[in-house]
């Protein structure tokens, strides 16, 4: 926030980022998830999009009724709630002048292009800060700026491999598998929002803007830092271990009744194991009391047999009932929720995890809210993702202050698509 903004701010109930203006060039997933948090917590986020080259997510499934369309992607809709959208031909000679006006309005510019793209439009940080010295700019790319691989192409699933997470996922007797989806795209945004807000804080205190450069590779490595240290210090290359854990037995996902239903169980302490023993054999007799399973070390030594016997027992249970039964006995147990289960999960419902927004083309659609509840200034998702170019007039006239003539000339010149 700049000093100028502070004077405009009225203290009192509201959202943390009320009055923060964001000029958002982010696209695909990692950037839009980052700026979704900002919008949820009050920032005015304006996405700059292109009609000629619409972002990948606008064409990504799922589509309501299976009918595709530039405004119909459920994927795009989820990650762009609470944002406005304008459509600009960034290759048009007059696009720069318009973006500089917007950069003056903005407290924050965000982008996740290949490094060098903003500079190619002469909209790099050095140029932007000339018109707005307190500006915070956030850039994120796969590999970070500079270095021999800064322009390496790729996307989330590739980064899971590059960062070493694929190597840590799967069964030891099978090939490694990717953590689901573009996993790293959903690790990075929390670091990104924390860094952006730290940058805005510093700008407010010092009056000096800052350009934050986030390498998604470097950020995601913090999700395996002890594994890297294990190599640096002990020269050990950790690899995938299925569902085994060195500190627990039994530990895994166990088959339950029905189709592809599983319950995760992890017994780290005597109390956990004793709760499991009591539940399986309330009379204190039978295989759970076999001396082979009496201690953690003996359970680890006989883990294959333990898993086999435990599966025989779990496979006749309905997964939800078994989770509740084991939890009430003090055993860590959790359903392997599929995506339908997530919508029916009692705790996620209690937290209001999914929220429905009404979209003019998609109709009511679900999107996830943030994982934190702020007691005094909670976030909220209030508006659906923008239609392509929906807010051209509102943003440029009402927020930026273009006159009707200026707006018309941008339209006629094809700067606005």
């Amino acid at each position: 926030m700049t000093a100028q903004q502070e004077t405009n701010q009225t203290p009192g109930p509201g959202k943390p980022l009320d009055g923060v203006n964001v000029l958002d060039f982010c696209w695909v997933a990692v950037g839009p998830m980052t700026t979704k948090y900002l919008g949820e917590y009050g920032a005015t986020v304006v996405r700059v999009e292109s009609v000629k080259r619409p972002g990948t997510l606008r064409n990504a499934a799922p589509f309501r009724d299976g009918i595709s369309g530039i405004n119909r992607s459920g994927y795009f809709a989820s990650y762009n709630a609470n944002k406005m959208g304008i459509t600009v031909d960034m290759r048009h000679p007059r696009a720069r002048e318009l973006m500089l006006r917007m950069a003056k309005w903005a407290h924050l510019v965000t982008e996740n292009f290949t490094p060098g793209t903003m500079e190619s439009w002469e909209l790099g940080f050095d140029q932007l800060k000339e018109v707005n010295p307190g500006l915070v700019m956030f850039s994120t790319s796969m590999m970070g700026r500079g270095g021999p691989m800064e322009r390496q192409p790729g996307f989330g699933p590739v980064l899971s491999s590059l960062v070493g997470l694929t190597n840590l996922t799967g069964w030891p007797d099978r090939d490694p598998v990717n953590p689901y989806g573009a996993y790293t795209d959903f690790i990075v945004p929390r670091f990104a929002v924390a860094a952006i807000l730290a940058g805005l804080d510093r700008s407010r205190r010092t009056g000096e803007g800052v350009h934050i450069d986030m390498s998604q590779l470097e950020t995601t490595l913090h999700f395996s830092a002890p594994v890297l240290l294990d190599y640096a210090v002990n020269n050990r290359e950790q690899a995938r271990a299925g569902n085994r854990d060195p500190g627990a037995a039994p530990h895994g996902a166990y088959l339950c009744s029905g189709n592809d239903r599983w319950l995760a169980i992890g017994c780290f302490s005597d109390q956990h194991w004793e709760g499991l023993q009591r539940t399986i054999a309330p009379d204190g007799k039978g295989w759970p009391y076999n001396p082979d399973f009496a201690t953690l070390l003996s359970r680890k030594a006989n883990e294959d047999e333990l898993d086999h016997l435990l599966t025989d027992w779990t496979s006749s249970w309905e997964v939800g009932a078994l989770m509740e039964t084991l939890q009430s006995a003090g055993v860590p147990a959790g359903m392997v929720n599929d995506c339908r289960d997530l919508f029916e999960d009692a705790q996620l419902q209690h937290r209001g995890h999914f929220q429905w927004l009404d979209h003019p083309e998609i109709g009511p659609y679900a999107t996830d809210t943030s994982e934190m509840v702020l007691s005094l200034s909670p976030g909220s998702l209030d508006t659906p993702a923008p239609l392509l170019g929906e807010h051209n007039s509102h943003v440029l006239k009402d927020l930026i202050g273009l006159t009707d003539e200026e707006y018309k000339s941008l339209e006629e010149d094809g700067v606005l698509e």
Binding site: M1, E6, A60, P62, G74, S78, R145, M149, E150, Q152, P157, V158, S161, V163, G164, L165, T169, V177, P179, Y180, G181, F186, I187, R190, F191, A194, L197, S215, H222, A225, P226, L229, Y231, N234, Q238, G242, R244, A253, W262, A264, G266, A333, G334, M335, V336, N337, C339, R340, L342, A346, Q347, L348, R351, Y365, A366, E371, M372, L374, L376, S377
Partner: protein, 421 residues
Amino acid sequence: MPGAQGGIDFLLEPYRVLDLTDERGLLAGKILADMGADVLQVEPLGGSPARNVGPFHGDDPQPEKSLFWWAYAANKRSITLNLEHKDGQELLKKLVAKADFLIESFSPGYLEGLGLGYEKLAEINPKLVMVSITPFGQDGPYSNYQATDIVGMALGGFMYLTGDDDRAPVRISFPHFYLHGGAAGATAAMLAHTYRVTSGQGQYVDVSCQQAVAKTLAHAPQIWDIEGAILKRQGVYRQTSGENRVRINWPCKDGYVNYMVQGGTVAYSTRALLDWMKEDKFDTADLDAVDWEKMGYGAITPELMAQLGGPLGDFFKGHTRAELVQGSLDRRILLFPVATPSALQGHPQLEARGYFREIEHPELGETVQYPGAFIKSGDGRDIAGVYRRPPLIGEHNVQVYQEEMGLSSSELETLKRSGVI
């Protein structure tokens, strides 16, 4: 101050954080410490339980040698404090009076039970931002559930989508459940801080790790909501549309590579790979005949995938990972390594950016290479990063209690004798 030598200060230097978390929340304070905040790790007597989490330096399972602790406590200072002791509670309140943030990961209700809940602490410091990180949140049907990593990764929806389709779902072998919550804790702290800056008021923040994991699932929940379809795990494959899926992980001579056959705008990559295969005397005539240029995303049928799988798999098995990665760079093939820790250590991009940093461990007479900053400034200067080795148990007791809070040495001795510090 960490950033002074770089000519630019770290982003959060004016702020102090009291970090009461254990292995379930350490990352939140670490993120703030990396950006320059003064993070005081408040440990129970004998040290944080996070110090029991392996792996260990030299495989020696001692609290000062936990690499998990090292990774997530570097940059912090450590004091010990017995929160269940009256004097300990008074000391915490004194610390709270001068702190900007307090982060904790105890079971819901634990701090309230000690008279240290948010309401009490806010009476002392109304500007305090207090963040609680728990598996499921402070209330609700699961709030008292026993949770471990695998339980959380299951309930968050991650596991169902990960692993081979003919076996049980899998988690990531290095636990991530609490890291998602920890990272969210840093986000939450900064959101509440931003509100404090403009309103003058602190507040309480309740973070759910389960929700944090459920937010990693891309469009899978939307596919259920909008199409009524439940996505399933695909092993080494990636689903591209309906029944169509392409293989993405392939074994090579000494490890694995990530390669996804694609057409359309990146048909050049597939063509280049087929040309390379011809150099190795593979007969690719049938595959050359495929109109890759006209093949849209998701158009590779199971039949075509089966036809490709044999020769491609044989080709990859005939080369090392390094050969495949370098050859692909030279030929513009979109192939990437399935990296192992050793490959990351010598990674050319990480080296060029100076990512890994040597940190001295004088107590061991060694220097250790740590993962570095998750952000830099755009011109390459440090605005965050690793600058201080993880603290020994209570290493900063004298510095904090005596030098900063003004306790006398005899008071410190009394507190030590009575099991407070």
